[in-house]
Each structure stands twice: as C-alpha cells, then as structure tokens.
C-alpha cells in the first residue's frame, strides 16, 4: 500500500522570511512516509511529506483530523508505537554541528535530542504534565538528565523559565502541582518545559485548542515572542486563523498527502489547490456575510411582542463542592420568542452549559423559575415533565457520544418516538427516513451504525433525532465545536434552514462568536455564571458594551480580512542560546 506518488514537490517558492536563505535549515524533512502495520497489512497515514524549517522560521501543518499532521511530528521524535513503519529523513542541524537524521539515528541518540534540541508542546497540558510531582521537579530533572545543569543551577533556571513564559510569582508557583494551576498557566508551564533547554526547534501540537479564546491569544502571543527570540517552530493546527496569526509558512495536509505548501499569507489570498480553497472557504469568521433567514414565527404581527415561548427568571444553580459552594449560574433571566434564536456566549466555566441543562430541567435549579409554553416546569411532577419534554429537545456537543452506539441510525432517530410510544415500528422507520432526508442524508445510512459515519453525519443524525418529536424549542449545546472546520458551517446552515422551515426556537450555547453571528437573533454574553451583556446580534458585534465582550471579540483570529498582528508581550527578552 506504500505509494510512491510524488505529489509533494521539493520546496519551492519564495520564503516569507528570507533572512535564513543562506543558512542551512534547522529541520529538513524529506520524503517522510509513515505507516502502521496492522493485521491486514500496512496502513499508510502519511505520504511523502517534505518541508524545511529555517532558523527563526515558523511553519504550520494544517489539516483536518486524520490528515496525519500529528503522526508525522511524532514520527520525527520517535514517539510512535512499535508497529509504526517510518521512511524518509528528518535532518536536524544545530548551529555549528553536522546534521543528524532523526529517523535513522537510533533511540539512544534521539533521546539525547528530545527535550534538548527539539521541544514538544502538547494539546492537553493536564495530561502531558505529570500530575503527581510538582513543577519544579518536572522542569529541573529534564536539565539534569541531559547533563545541562547541576541541581541548584537547574532550580534557578527553572524559576527563570517560568518567568520567561509569563507565569507570575514563579518562585511560589514552581512548588505547585499541575492541577493547582489554571488551564492557561498549565499550558505556559508546559511551554516553559519545552523551551527551558532552548531547543533549536519546538513542535507544538494544537497548543491552544483546549483553551478559551482569550487565553489562546495570550499563549499564541507568548509563542510568537519566543519565536522572535530565536526559537524555530512547527505548529500543528486545524485552525487557519491560528496558523495565520503565528506562522510564516504553511503545509496543507489531507489524508496524509501534502496538498499545498506556501507562505501562509499567499495561501489564504490565492490558494492553488481546490482543497485548500475549500478549507479556507469553510472557515467560520466573525464579520462574514450571513445568509438571510426568514423568521416564520408570529413575532411582531401587531407591533406587540408575542408571548415568549420560554421565560427564565432569576435562575440560579449552586454546586456544593469541597472548596465551598460554586455558583455556576447566578440569577439569569431570559426570554425566547417562538421561532427565534438566542445565542449564549461564554468561555469555559461561564455556566452556559449548566444553563442549558437547567432550562430543560435535566438538573434541578437551586432557585428561579423556568416557564415553557405558559407552564412552570418546576411545578411539574416527573411524569408530566417527561411529557412536556417532547416539546423541547437538545443537540449535544459530541455527536458520537450522544447517539446510542449499539443502535442503527434508523433506531437512533426513531428513539424519541419509541420512548414516547408514538407509532408502530414501521411508521417509526418511515418517519426516520423522512427525518434523514430532512437533514440531507440519503436512506442508505438508515441501517448503518453511528461509528460508520463521519462526525458531521453523526451530528446530522443527532439533529434528525432531536426533530423527531417536532419540538417547538431546541437547545444546541456547542453543536458544531466537536466537528471539523470544513463541516461546521454546513451543519450551522442546515440548522438555520431547518429553523426557517419548521419554526422552532433555538437556544444556542457556544464559545464561538462566529457561530452566534451566523445564527442568532439575540445574544447574551455570560461570564462566571452571570449575564454581562445582552443585545441584538448585529448591535453586539457593531458596538459591544461590556469590556469582556470586547475582549472576546478582540481575541478572535480571523482567516479573512485584516491581519491581526501579534500583540507584543511585556515579557523580558531571553537569549536564545542552547545551553
């Protein structure tokens, strides 16, 4: 199955940064091919990947999930499992030393390189840092292993390294365990670990994907700062906005093949390949042209606002925890008119998902009232509540996680009918066919299992299921954030079309402002359980009132339009010399 197709031409075109043209690149990868030996033969996941990374260079490997971007970088560092088959070369050239081919050097030599000449930053700092030992040991033992420092020296440098990545009070924080730090601080600590030995190259695998947008921007600014000090970087990302913000060059990967390589500005301006164009076109941005949606509902017929379908008054949820009570949702009130969409925007911990579950009464509120269709949900007995829930449905974040894995697509879609004892099995199946057509999937999928579908298809199935009972009200909890960028917009547009045709009201929970802009009529912005701003969508984007809303908007990294320049950090310069 190993293909020798040469879709990847040797590096051509002008480099964005011409400064290093004369010098040898730090990292030169050529013909990298990675496969995995499986019982039924070798499955190739990366084909013939070549790129070269100049000193001070920053290169983005861009692609969707399964494109082979992470695997290729792990192959270079020898971090793949035993059944991996790796070919090609990856020559690392440190200043003033002959090149070393990481793929043929052997484990002992590569181990000396890892962490010393090549640093790695992972997506999830909580998993990548050792939870049972404090930061100090994780940072220092690294230097001691590599023989770069003795004990007291290592401690001093570890404190410095934490300071360099913008962790306040490094002397105190170095004694902490990873779980005692916030997500952003953990990511900074991991970057400190990856860079403490001043490696020639840092490989960052989706370093900000798990972070909130405002924190993401801070971390990216830090990486840019370190790059300016002399660190060369390969960044793996699915987010073209992130790639544009941080990197000079980009390599677009698809199913393990190189599709296109170009300076990122040029790639975004005039992509040569159709696939690159489709990726760019599919990217969601704030400030895009939003297709008009016809509001079918009877909103302002006589100039008076019609009765709200959903009324939430002073809703509060307090979770008791060991460290004291946590107010997840703090006296939130909102109204949702029939057929309208209300976006709820917030970062992690803002209480937006708790709000969604409170509204559906999947969890019990501490206080406050939810009225749906004129009925106080809090006053209903369990049985009556279950009957009421027919009118209100939910689409969850993880499409696969919310479908029954042991049941076919048809059974999953018909599940709400089955639960509520509606129709005969045949009628339910017929209805499943109709619903599947409604979400633009053919009947061929009826008897497939969820795992055989792509993420986007799974989410369509989940939407079909949510519509089976013809609800008046739908809650979407981050309905597209688990999907690849190329299908997010399709699923959002599908939701909007369905809404115009069926007239349900939508409560859209999301962290992504672009999602809200595309779908919502009104928006509320939540922070730490409280609503900090509420406005018509257009007004919110044109004229944000609250400083937090403004911070959210500023943290957006657009793919189109004007370039956001990385913000200068107020961090001290560091001498980037390998020690």
């Amino acid at each position: 199955m190993l293909s020798t197709s040469m879709r990847a031409e040797p590096s051509d075109g002008p480099r964005a940064a011409g400064s290093a043209a004369s010098r040898k690149p730090v990292l030169e990868v050529s013909g990298l091919t990675v496969g995995f030996a499986l019982p039924d033969g070798v499955k190739t996941v990366v084909h013939d990947l070549s790129f070269s990374l100049p000193h001070h260079g920053s290169l983005a490997l861009v692609g969707e999930s399964g494109s082979g971007k992470s695997v290729s970088m792990r192959a270079i560092l020898g971090l793949l499992p035993g059944n991996a088959r790796v070919q090609g070369s990856a020559v690392l050239t440190a200043e003033g030393s002959p090149g070393l081919d990481l793929l043929t050097a052997g484990e002992a030599k590569v181990r000396r390189v890892r962490g010393r000449q090549v640093g790695m930053v992972f997506q999830n700092a909580m998993e990548a840092l050792n939870p049972s030992i404090p930061l100090e040991r994780q940072l220092t033992e690294h230097l001691i292993w590599h023989g770069l420092a003795n004990k007291s020296d290592a401690r001093r440098r570890a404190v410095e390294a934490l300071g360099d990545v913008g962790i306040p009070e490094p002397e105190r924080r170095i004694r902490m365990y990873p779980f005692q730090l916030s997500g952003g601080m953990r990511q900074r600590a991991m970057i400190a670990m990856a860079t403490i030995a001043r490696p020639d190259v840092v490989i960052a695998d989706e370093p900000t994907t798990a972070l909130d947008v405002t924190v993401q921007k801070q971390i990216l600014d830090l990486l840019v700062h370190l790059r300016d000090q002399g660190m060369a970087m390969v960044m793996i990302t699915h987010d073209l906005g992130v790639a544009r913000y941080v990197c000079d060059d980009a390599v677009v990967l698809r199913d393990g093949d190189v599709v296109e390589r170009a300076p990122i500005a040029q790639l975004l301006r005039s992509p040569k390949e159709a696939y690159s164009r489709s990726l760019i076109d599919a990217a969601l941005d704030v400030g895009m042209d939003v297709p008009e949606r016809e509001v079918v509902a009877i909103t302002d017929t006589a100039g008076t606002p019609s009765e709200a379908l959903l009324q939430v008054r002073d809703l509060t949820k307090v979770f008791a925890s060991r460290g004291g009570d946590v107010v997840a949702v703090d006296e939130v009130s909102l109204d949702l008119l029939p057929g309208r969409t209300l976006g709820v925007v917030g970062e992690s911990g803002s209480g937006k998902s708790t709000l969604a579950r409170l509204v559906l009464r999947l969890i019990e509120p501490t206080s406050g009232r939810v009225t749906f269709d004129g009925e106080d949900l809090g006053a209903l007995a369990p049985k009556a509540l279950r009957a009421r829930r027919r009118g209100m449905q939910m689409v969850f974040q993880s499409p696969y996680g919310s479908l029954l894995p042991t049941h076919t697509v048809a059974e999953n879609i018909a599940e709400p009918l089955r639960i509520n004892k509606i129709g005969t099995p045949t009628e339910r199946r017929d209805r499943a066919v109709d619903l599947l057509r409604l979400v633009e999937l053919g009947p061929a999928y009826l008897d497939m299992y969820p795992r055989q579908l792509s993420g986007g298809q799974q989410q369509r199935v989940a939407i079909a299921r949510a519509l089976a009972l013809k609800p008046k009200f739908l809650v979407g909890d981050e309905p597209t954030s688990a999907l690849d960028a190329s299908v997010q917009m399709q699923v959002l547009d599908l939701l909007r079309d369905l809404q115009s045709r069926l007239g349900f009201a939508l409560l859209l929970i999301t962290h992504n402002l672009a999602v809200v802009e595309r779908l919502a009529d009104d928006v509320i912005v939540m922070r730490r359980g409280q609503v900090v701003e509420r406005a018509r969508t257009a007004d919110l984007f044109a004229n944000p009132q609250h400083e937090y809303t403004r911070a959210l908007l500023e943290a957006v990294l657009p793919v189109r339009g004007a370039v956001t320049d990385p913000e200068a950090t107020d961090l001290p310069g560091v001498a980037w010399q390998r020690q």
Binding site: L38, R357, L360, L362, P382, K383, R386, A387, R389, R390, M392, Q393, M394, F396, Q397, S398, G401, S402, L403, L404, P405, T406, T408, E415, P416, I419, N420, G442, P443, A444, Y445, D447, M448, Y449, Q452, A462, R465, L469
Partner: protein, 301 residues
C-alpha cells in the same frame, strides 16, 4: 468499512445502494471473542461439560451410588469401569459425571442468584444515589467485613447439608462484589452524554437504566460472572472437603477428592480423575472469561 452510495443526482430511477452488511455491536463482540482461540476452546469445553452433566443420567454406565462388594479399587480401564471403582466399588466415571452435574448446578445457580441480587442492589444504588445508595453500600460494607467463606461454612452448618443450602451460602458470600461493580458502572454511565440525551428525549428511569445503561455496564459484569462460576465450584468443592458440601449420596467433586485423598499413595488415580476434570473446567471458564473481556474491549481502529 466504507459504504459506496450511488444516488443519481437528478431524475427518476432507483437509488442503487451497495453497503457492507451492517454489523451489530453483538456480532462485533462475537468476532472479537472468536479471535481469541483459547476462549473458543474454553467455551467448547464448558459446553461439553454442561452437556455431559445434563445427560449424566443417560450416559452414566452405572448408578453413582451402587455399591459393588468385592469390586473395590478396580484400576482404570477395567472392563465395565472405564475409570475404575472406588473404595466401595462404585463406578468412578458415573460418580464423576454426576459430580460434574452437582458442581455446575451449584456454580451456575449461585452465580445467577447473586447476579439477580447484584442487579437489584447495584442498579438501585447507582441510579438513585443519595440516601438509598448510602444505606445499600453500608450493607455491602457489613457483608464485606464477614469472611465470605467462613460465612458459607456457618450457613451450611445451620441450614444442613443440602444442595440449596450450599447454593444459598455461596450466593450470600458473592453478591457483594457484583453489586459494587454494577453500582460503579451505573454511576459512570449516568454522566455519559447519550444517557443525558435519553433523559432529554423524555425517557423514564426504567428505560434509562435498562436500555441506556445496562448494555454498557454488562461487559465487566459478564467477565466477573465467567470467573465467578468456577470460583463457586471451587468453593463448593472446598465445603465438600470439609464435609459441608451437598449431602451424600449425591456425589460432588469435593467429596470424591476427599475420599480419594486417603488412598493417594496406593490408588492415585482415584484423585487424579476428579482433579484433572476439575482443573480442566476451571481453566476453560478462565479462558472464556478472557475472551469475554476481549469481546467487550473497545478497540478504536
């Protein structure tokens, strides 16, 4: 596992579909089980043991309790007595077949009963939580504090030596662990998104537990079940060796081993046959358990 779906873009005409036969979760589990050769062998052995045990009255050459004076201690492969005779001249093969019947009946029944209790307790505690959970778990704590085997000895001593007394004793000694396992599984499942989705669709508690949670919780429970049956059989044999097993004349592997042990120096085959069969069955169940574990191991590929 890709599907090729050809749908004409426009115009009439049938939609041609070629799909791989969809495989249900259970058929995929069966395939994973089959991949483990030892498990298949184990399952075959268990099935064989169950069949012979069931058919024991039909295939046993003699009655298990018929005493034949003058024919004591016949060696194996004697005419009419394939495995020889014991100290009372009883046919060892016939006794072995009926012992197997006893052992399997006790082992499977005790496991089944403890499963029923475990499901009731585990599902209730895991799903309801709160006070009910606290009380039920306090009860299991108390049960855990008793050494299970001693408890069984005590019970048989009180209830007398009958098959059902042994089953009851083993059940009481083994339901606790299963209950805790099920409770933990249900508590884990409760937080999964599709269970929440079920609630959002309007599913009641019974549907949620039986349709959404139990299938997912079944894997580890089936694994412990396939290890629990031989454990019960072993415990039954142990009770028999202590003279607390099922009442004579019903034979049991433990009784046979206990009697044979006295003549181990002169007639080792008296103990070799029951021990050999016992070891084989224990191994078979263990292999099946391994296979079940493989079957429920979710592989992502």
């Amino acid at each position: 596992m890709t599907a090729t779906v050809k749908a004409p873009a426009a115009g009439p005409g049938p939609i041609t579909i070629s799909l791989p036969p969809p495989r249900s979760e259970w058929s995929r589990r069966a395939a994973r089980f089959r991949r483990n050769r030892l498990a298949v062998l184990g399952l075959a052995l268990v099935a064989l043991a169950c069949l012979t045990a069931l058919a024991a009255p039909l295939i046993a050459p003699h009655h298990y309790a018929t005493i034949n004076p003058g024919q004591e201690f016949l060696p194996s492969f004697s005419p009419g007595h394939l495995m020889g005779t014991d100290l009372l001249g009883r046919d060892v093969l016939s006794r072995l077949l009926f012992s197997l019947r006893t052992a399997l009946f006790v082992g499977i029944m005790a496991e089944l009963l403890s499963l029923i209790i475990a499901f009731a307790v585990g599902l209730l505690a895991g799903y309801k939580g709160g006070k009910i959970d606290q009380w039920l778990m306090a009860l299991t704590d108390v049960m855990f504090a008793f050494p299970g085997y001693l408890f069984a000895v005590l019970l048989v001593a009180v209830l007398g030596r009958s098959t059902w007394a042994v089953i009851l004793a083993l059940t009481i000694a083994s339901w606790v662990g299963q209950s805790r396992l099920l409770r933990a599984q249900i508590m884990r499942m409760k937080t999964l998104e599709f269970v929440e989705a079920g609630r959002a669709m309007g599913a009641g508690p019974w549907t949620l537990v039986m349709r959404y949670m139990v299938p997912g919780a079944l894997g580890p429970v089936l694994v412990t079940t396939s290890f629990g049956i031989p454990a019960n059989m072993l415990a039954e044999a142990g009770l028999a060796i202590l003279g607390l097993g099922v009442a004579p004349p019903t034979p049991s592997l433990g009784t046979m081993i206990n009697e044979g042990y006295r003549f181990v120096q002169t007639n080792p085959e008296l103990i070799a046959w029951p021990v050999g069969v016992f070891v084989l069955i224990m191994l078979a169940f263990t292999w099946v358990g391994d296979g079940v574990r493989d079957a429920f191991d979710v592989d992502e590929s």
